[in-house]
């Protein structure tokens, strides 16, 4: 690198790399890494999903489409898929309502240092281990757990409220894990809304629900959608939370796919199920691509 001092008088363009080379040099490390670690593995997995059996040892390689017929051949998978989808939608919906409200409260009801501190407090759990948080919930919501102890403090003969090993327990754990995402994305979106717009609406006589649904929600829609996608996608593939909080009812697409790779050792079936799930994820993206493009453009 030539010394920077004294370079002022020279035309800068003569000393620069060709622009395309500089661009390529900036991009190459990241994209090479992503290719090796994500794109090539996904391609390999796609190829695997057309195999008859895991190619280990000297077994002959047989190509087949049978893995993609799994939903037809094993109808119980349809029920599992429906459970996964319902868990994903409930979790995303609850996170959207609670997260948006919390972000709104942060932006509208707090300011300065208090707001900064509260935001950090909301985001801090994100830095704690997800597994431990999930396991902690089992201590709270099991029969005779903290929830029961707390309630019986006021009402000694209360029936047990424990709901461990149910679908709501899974949703609770997932909401807890992913809520900070929604608060953050909504907070950023709400922060960029000009106060003058809200004041203008109010001075023209708009009531709070008009302000909320005609101004705040539409203007913060990119934040809501980004948050929803950041939540829905990992939740639909969750397997640890259903296993720990769901017990025997916690059979989701995530746990079925995990089993194919760790227990059943049926990689082709696991791959095919994973790509089926991927198709659902892509469908979600296609549905919301309009909103996303709008947020990417601004």
């Amino acid at each position: 690198m030539p010394p920077e001092v004294g370079a002022a008088g020279l035309p800068a363009t003569r000393r620069r790399m060709p622009p395309w080379l500089a661009t390529a040099a900036l991009l190459l490390p990241s994209y090479a890494w992503l290719t090796l670690a994500v794109l090539l593995p996904l391609t390999a997995m796609f190829v695997f999903s057309f195999l008859h059996a895991t190619p280990l040892g000297n077994k002959p390689v047989v190509w087949t489409l049978e893995q993609y017929r799994a939903f037809h051949d094993q109808p119980y998978l349809l029920g599992v898929a429906w459970t996964s989808l319902a868990i994903g939608l409930w979790t995303t919906g609850i996170c959207a309502v609670v997260g948006f409200a919390a972000a709104l409260a942060l932006v509208r009801a707090t300011a300065g240092r208090t707001r900064e501190t509260l935001l950090i407090l909301v985001l801090l759990p994100f830095w704690t281990n997800g597994l431990v948080r999930v396991f902690s919930w089992t201590m709270v919501i099991r029969e005779g757990g903290f929830l029961d102890v707390f309630v019986r403090w006021f009402w000694p003969s209360a029936p047990s409220l424990g709901f461990l090993y149910t679908t709501p327990a899974i949703v609770l754990g997932l909401v807890h894990g992913y809520l900070p995402y929604m608060v953050l994305t909504c907070y950023i979106a709400l922060l960029s809304i000009d106060d003058a717009v809200i004041e203008a609406a109010q001075s023209l006589g708009a009531r709070w629900w008009t302000v909320l649904f005609k101004i705040l929600v539409p203007l913060a829609a990119p934040g809501l959608v980004t948050g929803a996608i950041l939540i829905f996608v990992p939740v639909i593939g969750a397997f640890m939370e259903p296993r720990i909080l769901g017990g025997r009812v916690g059979v989701t697409m995530g746990t079925v796919i995990e089993d194919q790779f760790t227990q059943a050792f049926n990689w082709p079936l696991g791959s095919a199920l994973a790509f089926t799930m991927l198709a659902v994820v892509l469908a979600v993206f296609a549905t919301f691509s309009g909103v996303l493009r709008r947020s990417a453009a601004t």
Binding site: S30, S136, F239
Partner: protein, 259 residues
């Protein structure tokens, strides 16, 4: 209205912290079965000090997260500069290509890595986890730094250059200092993504080369002991100190706040 909003925020915080407080408290409870009433004891911390396996997994996690943050922030910042400061053909496609690691459930990415690394001989272990964690973190870094670049006015850099600065000089003296809050934020994000990452690590771990989340998962399935609470509490306190320290120096939206 304002007080109602504050009460709601308080409830959200109670919800977020309840299990964390329970987790930390149970690390100091003598009962191995998490039974109440509470009986204070440091027994589980003493047990932990002798549990080499957990401690080793804890160090693995920390090193992996530090390396991930450094590599992903360096690579991702470069890519963000190209994607947000330069115009070239294929830029839109390259931006979309950042999405797979974020958009595809980790379960799918993780199993795909397992298949591919197994097949190509890269194998499993900490090196494989590093490859995976960095790939997961790069898109987050690019997006965080890119957002920072968007709010940063490009004409400041141009002003510096029109006053006689070289592009490199302008970058190091104008763009980089202004971008620092975003870069620090991105590094923190990458650190957190790696430290909390369980799914990818789970599929890429081998016995003896695991991270804390993987050890904890197998402990939960075998029978959880409050030792796990103890090490989680230590890790939690350590990361909180780090993050609060960063929050002090690199405030969110701190551009222009430091004179």
């Amino acid at each position: 209205m304002t007080s109602l909003a504050r009460i709601f925020l308080g409830l959200v915080l109670v919800f977020l912290y309840l299990p964390i407080v329970v987790m930390a408290a149970m690390g100091f409870n003598a009962s191995p079965l998490y039974a109440l009433p509470f009986d204070f004891s440091t027994h589980w911390y003493e047990e932990l000090a002798g549990n080499g396996r957990l401690i080793e997994a804890g160090w693995n996690s920390i090193w992996l997260a530090v390396l991930t943050a450094v590599i992903a922030t360096a690579l991702g910042t470069l890519a963000a500069l190209a994607l947000w400061r330069r115009t070239f053909r294929g830029r839109a496609i390259l931006r979309i290509l950042l999405l797979p690691p974020i958009a595809i459930p980790w379960l799918i990415t993780g199993t795909a890595m397992l298949v591919f690394f197994f097949w190509t001989g890269i194998g499993r272990g900490l090196h494989a986890m590093l490859i995976g964690h960095v790939a997961l973190a790069i898109p987050y870094v690019v997006l965080v730094v890119g957002t920072g670049l968007q709010t940063l006015r490009a004409d400041l850099e141009e002003a510096a250059m029109s006053l006689g600065s070289t592009p490199i000089h302008a970058f190091f003296r104008v763009t980089l200092p202004l971008l620092m809050p975003s870069i620090v934020g991105a590094a923190l994000f990458a650190f957190a993504v790696s430290l909390d990452q369980f799914v990818i690590s789970y599929f890429l771990s081998v016995p003896g080369m695991t991270t804390l989340p993987v050890e904890i998962y197998s402990a939960i399935r075998k029978g959880f002991t409050p030792e796990i609470n103890a090490i989680s509490t230590i890790l939690l306190v350590a990361s909180m100190i780090v993050i609060l320290g960063f929050a002090r120096f690199a405030r969110p939206g701190g551009i222009g706040e430091r004179s």
